[in-house]
Symmetry: C2
Subunit: 81 residues, 2 copies
């Protein structure tokens, strides 16, 4: 099984890195550009020993407790067979 | 329209950051953990002026020429209405 955890800054938190990328892309002439925000993701391989329910619970716990800073970040995740 | 660009290290490139996260998670007792790899993503808002084809072309160009280092990274992207 494979899990993907996507961590991004909360909508209310400023993203200076994204703003810089947006500015650079605009200067380079890319068209139709609105807001740019950057985030990170984790690709987690899971061993066969877990059921999908167990895996989902483990990944949710990992994401909530370790991979995300709950003060400024939020996460979503997917678990695939 | 909204585009998501996901950039990750090529499979053949070592990911020490991912390895560190994997080690930490294992030490903390999370179960069923295999490989962990980290990547980044960009959430790009696109103005209404572009058709979906134009937007896809712009985003693909951006991802290939600016957001990815083709030597060690690869990307995939999605464009949604």
């Amino acid at each position: 099984m494979k899990a993907h955890v996507y961590v991004s800054l909360k909508k209310t938190v400023l993203d200076p890195q994204g703003k810089t990328i947006q500015g650079a892309l605009k200067k380079m002439g890319y068209q139709g550009l609105g807001d740019v925000r950057q985030g990170k993701f984790f690709e987690i391989a899971l061993n066969g020993g877990l059921t999908k329910e167990q895996a989902t619970a483990e990944v949710e716990k990992m994401a909530r407790e370790v991979l995300t800073n709950p003060v400024i970040e939020e996460f979503r995740f997917t678990v695939e067979e």
